[in-house]
């Protein structure tokens, strides 16, 4: 790289006049070339991540705010409802458009996707749409409105038509509102969803609560451990750190399996308790919140101990000694002198643990009960079981936003590049 610059310099110097401008240009050109080379080295990975990471995730997330199924499958009625004031029933032309759309969609075999989408909003819409498709006479005599209302009186309700209009896209807040248990009513204002469908606020609250509790337990358990290890001579500290790092390196799944083996009804702990006569019948220690806390703290504790340890190791003991010699009681010396110096470690550890806990899926899925599942479980559920991409995307948007915001805080306070890798 230097040779390029030297050659450029040489060329410039050998030029007709020793013009300083030429020299500067030559240097700039060489710098630019160097930058291009550096960028060219990064380019393959950049393109790879764009294709296999950014675009897939972006496309998936976009399903949470973009809604084009209904405009595609039922184009005429979406167009007809554009000018509907929403106060009275739509005009006869909208009814006729819907009938035409249903017929086309039935022939194309796309009616089912439209029915699925509308059913998310108004339960029962699938039946409504399918029975209309089945029962419509081949030739319409008289008004389209009377024909549809004759099949099902729901076609005479504003809410039915408002649902079609709401799904008309292209942008939608249906899923994002749904992820907060909110929906839009026939007039377009945001209201709470029907109470039997209100699950997501619980899920979001539970995710935050479990993450916070796990973080708290990790600080309480991790702080003294990091302190004791940091006070040991190097050799023994190394051995103790190895004990912290061993679980850190062990497969997450192995650790979760270990807890299943320990906690289950016919597991190691219950058989031990029974044979010691501590209990008369097996304790229920798995598929509940207790198991989730135990297993998650076990997995995440090293992420608390390691940053705390590296901060504590750099704190000279002379400060606390000085405080003591000036008459501070041990607790005061700890609380006023030692603890404040460890705050960066506490911050780093807590953020790291909390951020990771937010996205936990495997551990609660294996050791938790139905009421202990966190937001990731529901993302997987909507993506793979019910294939409701809109809902999976909306929940992903919430989780991703929270995670990235907390990482931004982490980056401001500590710097992502100083993240430890064991």
């Amino acid at each position: 790289m230097l040779r390029g610059a030297a050659a450029a310099l040489h060329a410039a110097l050998a030029g007709a006049d020793d013009d300083a401008g030429d020299l500067r240009r030559a240097l700039r050109r060489s710098r630019r070339r160097e930058q291009l080379r550096a960028a060219a080295l990064v380019l393959p990975l950049f393109l790879f991540l764009a294709a296999c990471f950014v675009v897939p995730i972006g496309a998936m997330l976009s399903r949470g705010v973009i809604d084009t199924d209904i405009t595609r499958i039922l184009p005429a009625v979406t167009a007809a409802l554009k000018n509907w004031d929403g106060r009275d029933l739509p005009a006869e032309s909208a009814y006729a458009a819907l009938i035409a759309d249903i017929r086309t969609a039935r022939e194309a075999g796309t009616l089912a996707s439209a029915a699925t989408r509308l059913n998310y909003d108004v339960p029962g819409f699938r039946t409504l749409l399918f029975s209309a498709g089945r029962q419509l006479p081949a030739e319409l005599n008289g008004s389209a409105r009377d024909a549809l209302i004759g099949i099902d009186p729901k076609w005479g309700e504003r809410e039915t038509w408002a649902a079609i209009r709401r799904a008309g896209g292209p942008a939608t807040d249906f899923y994002l509102l749904g992820a907060l248990d909110l929906r839009r009513d026939a007039d377009g204002s945001v209201v709470g969803g029907p109470s039997e469908q209100r699950v997501f606020r619980d899920v979001l609250g539970r995710t935050l609560w479990i993450s916070a509790m796990v973080t708290l337990m990790c600080v309480i358990l991790g702080y003294p451990v990091a302190y004791v290890i940091s006070a040991q001579p190097p050799g023994r500290a190394g051995v103790l750190l190895f004990l912290v790092l061993l679980p850190f390196w062990t497969s997450l799944l192995v650790r979760t399996v270990a807890w299943v083996v320990l906690l289950q009804k016919e597991g190691v702990l219950n058989s031990l308790f029974l044979s010691l006569g501590i209990v008369n019948e097996p304790l229920k220690m798995i598929f509940n919140r207790f198991a989730v806390y135990v297993a998650m703290v076990h997995v995440l504790l090293p992420f608390m101990v390691l940053p705390l340890y590296s901060v504590m190791r750099s704190i000279p003991p002379s400060y606390v000694r000085a405080a003591s010699s000036l008459g501070a009681r041990p607790f005061t010396a700890f609380w006023r002198v030692y603890m404040p110096q460890t705050l960066p470690g506490i911050g780093a550890g807590c953020l790291m643990v909390f951020i990771q806990a937010l996205g936990y899926y495997i551990t609660p899925a294996l050791v938790g009960g139905a009421d202990d599942q966190m937001i990731s479980y529901f993302i997987a559920f909507y993506a793979s079981r019910t294939v409701n991409w809109g809902m999976a995307a909306a929940l992903s948007i919430m989780l991703l936003t929270a995670t990235l915001a907390l990482y931004a805080v982490y980056n401001r306070l500590i710097g992502v590049e100083r993240m430890r890798l064991g």
């Binding site: 950049f46 103790l240 399996v257 995670t403």
Partner: protein
Amino acid sequence: MRTGTETVGERVTGIGLAMLTGAVLAFLVAPILIIVPLSFSSGSFFYYPLPGFSLRWYQDFFSSSFWLPSLKNSLIVGTSATILATGLGTLAALGIWRARFPAQALVLALLISPMVVPVIIVAVGVYFAFAPLGLTDGYLGLILAHTTLGVPFVVITVLATLSSFDRTLIRAAESLGASQITTFRRVTLPLILPGVASGAVFAFAASFDEVVVALLMAGPGQRTLPRQMFAGINDNISLTIAAAATMLIAISLLLMIVVGWLQRRSARLRQSG
């Protein structure tokens, strides 16, 4: 730190702290240590004391029609993803270290982001995009997804190694007439190799341990070992799973030792360099 002038209160606190530390360390290590002997049990229940010693669960592992293939799948996916991630990640780290270019901080953030984004979002996103392309039916989709997850580890470790690399060495080589490629092959690469290798180990460990993407993406023919264990816990849990877990623990230990050795070696190279 121990001086002769400890008060009773200090001693009690010290003993209390030591006991608490012991308990927490036992909490961290015990579950992993308890599962190992179980895998050698001759009985078929998760009980202590063991009724006897046998290798029947290992026999079961190696003769079953799904455990051994899952180990093979894990090795295929892990190795391919590691090679891809190490190649791409090392080049990118070299580029970032070589010269500042516009939006470099943003690019670096992108390269690290697979480590930051919750893995369920990566899994669902990749599944969403790859399924219509038919990539979910073979190894390729899983390999590509695991490569993205491994890349940040390579970039971070190689950048860390490069941060202590002496740039004058490159200038010296080039002033002595070495071409760029020769300089890279004979000077840069040998010095950063420990960093590259530990990045590769991290990338392999990330793939070998990964279950969420495998859960969504892998068909029956590409079930990896963690994916098979996940199914094993959910169906009926047998001690074969303890044997599988024990082997995974052994592999983790091995990888941990390799990284430790590489880090010491890299530190030594830095001192002598």
